[in-house]
């Protein structure tokens, strides 16, 4: 089950938007399409599993969605004040706290999700196919 052309076109289209953002010097036009690219890239990565179990789409949706929610929040709270407010969260400005306690851990959570949805049965089947030469048929 190979990645369909349509998902590659979606990936490329979003990359074009980021490129346009670079020329228009709009950081939002660079970043926001790229956050969707993250979800598309994960979908491409687990395409075979998604085709068999469409419910697995929760993985790319929650990772990309999580980034979008966090960056939009950061965008909103830092619009008038680069610190994001005058309060402190664990001694940090709200903006910095959102970055270090939200955006940084989300990357590690995405890796954790990879481990949690990992299917050992699928791997066993794949290893057997290569060992027995069945993959060559």
């Amino acid at each position: 089950m190979y990645v369909s052309d349509r998902i590659m076109y979606l990936f490329s289209g979003l990359i074009v938007l980021s490129l346009v953002g670079m020329f228009l010097q709009s950081w939002r036009l660079i970043l926001y399409p790229y956050l969707v690219v993250i979800g598309v890239a994960i979908t491409i990565g687990i395409w075979k599993a998604v085709r068999n179990r469409p419910a697995l789409l929760w993985v790319p949706i929650s990772v990309a969605g999580g980034y979008i929610v966090l960056f939009v929040t950061l965008d909103l709270i830092t619009r008038n004040d680069p610190a994001g407010g005058s309060t402190y969260v664990l001694g940090m400005t709200p903006g910095l706290a959102l970055y270090l306690l939200g955006i940084l851990p989300l990357a590690v959570i995405a890796s954790l999700i990879y481990a949690l949805i990992f299917d050992p049965g699928d791997i066993e089947e794949m290893e057997n196919e290569f060992k027995t030469g069945e993959a060559a048929k």
Binding site: V3, S18, T78, L96, L112, A135
Partner: protein
């Protein structure tokens, strides 16, 4: 010279030598030398992947950039890299491993030749990787000299020679086995040091809120998530250092080394978590050092990149200082050893095979070429500073732009063609080189703040897709079954 620091670093170097001796005994074939005989478990592979991405640039440069301009560098580069591990594992972890199962696949050149059934793609990829390796090695030699100088008080040239001698000892004999097991040792040092130094730095700075308030009193931007950096640059970095991670050859070739696909499961989490922990070291030292400087409590530094070394030698006990400096040396040497083996594989295997020639006794020639590469990069760094600086631009961005489309997208998209792959490799190398050289001579073609590597990556991806669509075979030529099976993921 501080005796405790010298002893700790001396012990670290001795362990590297011992690992080299052990690895040399284990290395009996080209497969052992290049892919560790496909024998690695999850933890060794994941920590080797993490150390190959976290280099001296990330630690020394990251702390320096945070010291100078606040969190912008960390927000764009260091916080994107852990996401890079997740994306890479999702996109190609299983696929590259499966390509390795097809037999006689030791390099990314082998992978692309099987994928595209094209020696030309292998040759172009080998060429791009070789250029990058020489540039990277030259800069690692220079960085090693600086660190050895600050530890042992010897001249940077002598320091570089001592470090290189040890690097050569374990890399020539033990190849990638020596590289990944020294990486394991070095990675563990980096993780421990980062945790210790994080709490230490906060304590020296009087707590997080005190640091934040001091930074705000000088410049409110220093306590913001973006510091004094341009938001466009940060957005470009975020894209380049997360998606582009999957294009780093010294990282993704490690998927060829694991013994079973089951070992993939916890690898991304281990590598990502390890990297995220080292971000704490960079951020805590950078921000604390700056707040101490604002208070007039930090010594003068000649360059912002010195802030990390000055902080640990001035404000931490010698034992922690020694561990941090050993960790820094570890970051530089682990990157160097991974690259030198990668370069040898390109020169001994990929480029000759691209011309239809197979080298006999690959193990011997890989060892010879590793030694030659180390000598050449040392001579370049000593006598051809400008050339090293120019080749040094073949860094992350060039690898991302040249390798990501051809290898990563090629392995997930069936309609990718060899013409598309070659186009993207040529675009990746030439755009990075042209933009950087023009920048060096004061000619700026790109909009302000746009990062060369990021724009080269996106253009290279688009070139790959467009040319692949334009060069579809008239009659659908079926690919061989094993690569197709591997591409299913």
């Amino acid at each position: 010279m501080n005796v405790t620091i010298v002893s700790i670093v001396g012990f670290y170097l001795l362990v590297c030598i011992l690992i080299g001796v052990w690895a040399t005994r284990r290395t009996k074939s080209a497969s052992d030398f290049l892919v560790a005989g496909r024998s690695l478990g999850m933890f060794v592979m994941a920590i080797a992947a993490f150390t190959s991405i976290q280099s001296g640039f990330g630690l020394l440069g990251g702390a320096g950039q945070t010291f100078t301009g606040g969190m912008g560098f960390a927000a764009g580069v260091l916080i994107a890299a852990p996401l890079g591990f997740a994306l890479t594992w999702f996109l190609v972890g299983k696929r590259i491993w499966a390509m390795g199962e097809m037999g006689d696949v030791f390099t990314l050149g082998d992978v692309v030749e099987k994928r595209y059934n094209s020696r030309a793609v292998r040759g172009w990829l080998g060429f791009a990787i070789t250029l990058g390796v020489i540039g990277y090695l030259g800069t690692q030699v220079q960085a090693m000299g600086v660190i050895m100088h600050s530890i042992f008080g010897v001249s940077p040239a002598v320091g570089a020679l001592i470090g290189l001698g040890i690097l050569a000892f374990y890399s020539v004999g033990g190849g990638i086995i020596a590289s990944v097991y020294t990486d394991l040792f070095q990675g563990v040092i980096m993780i421990i040091v980062s945790i210790v130094i994080f709490f230490f730095a906060l304590n020296v700075g009087g707590g997080m809120q005190n640091i934040t308030e001091t930074l705000q009193s000088s410049d409110p931007l220093l306590a913001s998530p973006f510091g004094n950096f341009s938001l466009i640059t940060i957005a470009c970095w975020f894209l380049l250092f997360s998606l582009g991670a999957a294009g780093q050859p010294h990282f993704i070739n490690k998927f060829l080394m694991i013994k079973s696909a089951k070992e993939l499961r916890w690898g991304a989490f281990t590598a990502g978590l390890a990297y995220a922990i080292t971000v704490l070291l960079v951020v805590s030292i950078g921000l604390t050092a700056r707040s101490l400087q604002i208070q007039g409590r930090f010594p003068e530094v000649a360059s912002a990149d010195d802030s990390l070394v000055v902080f640990v030698t001035t404000f931490t006990p010698s034992i922690i200082g020694g561990l941090v400096l050993a960790g820094l040396l570890a970051a530089i040497m682990s990157t160097g050893s991974g690259f030198v083996t990668l370069g040898a594989a390109s020169l001994v295997r990929d480029i000759p095979r691209a011309f239809g020639k197979e080298i006999k006794n690959e193990l011997l020639w890989n060892r010879v070429v590793v030694f030659v590469l180390l000598v050449v990069s040392t001579l370049f760094s000593f006598y051809m500073d400008t050339l090293v600086a120019l080749l040094g631009v073949f860094g992350w961005g060039t690898f991302a732009a040249a390798v990501f489309p051809a290898v990563v997208l090629g392995l997930v998209w069936k309609r990718a063609t060899k013409q598309g792959a070659i186009t993207s490799i040529i675009l990746g190398v030439s755009l990075n080189f042209a933009f950087e050289i023009l920048n060096k001579y004061g000619i700026t073609l790109l909009p302000e703040g746009v990062v060369v590597g990021a724009i080269s990556l996106v253009i290279s991806i688009l070139g790959f897709v467009v040319v692949s669509l334009m060069t579809q075979p008239q009659e659908s030529a079926e690919m061989e079954q094993p690569p197709l099976k591997a591409m299913e993921g």
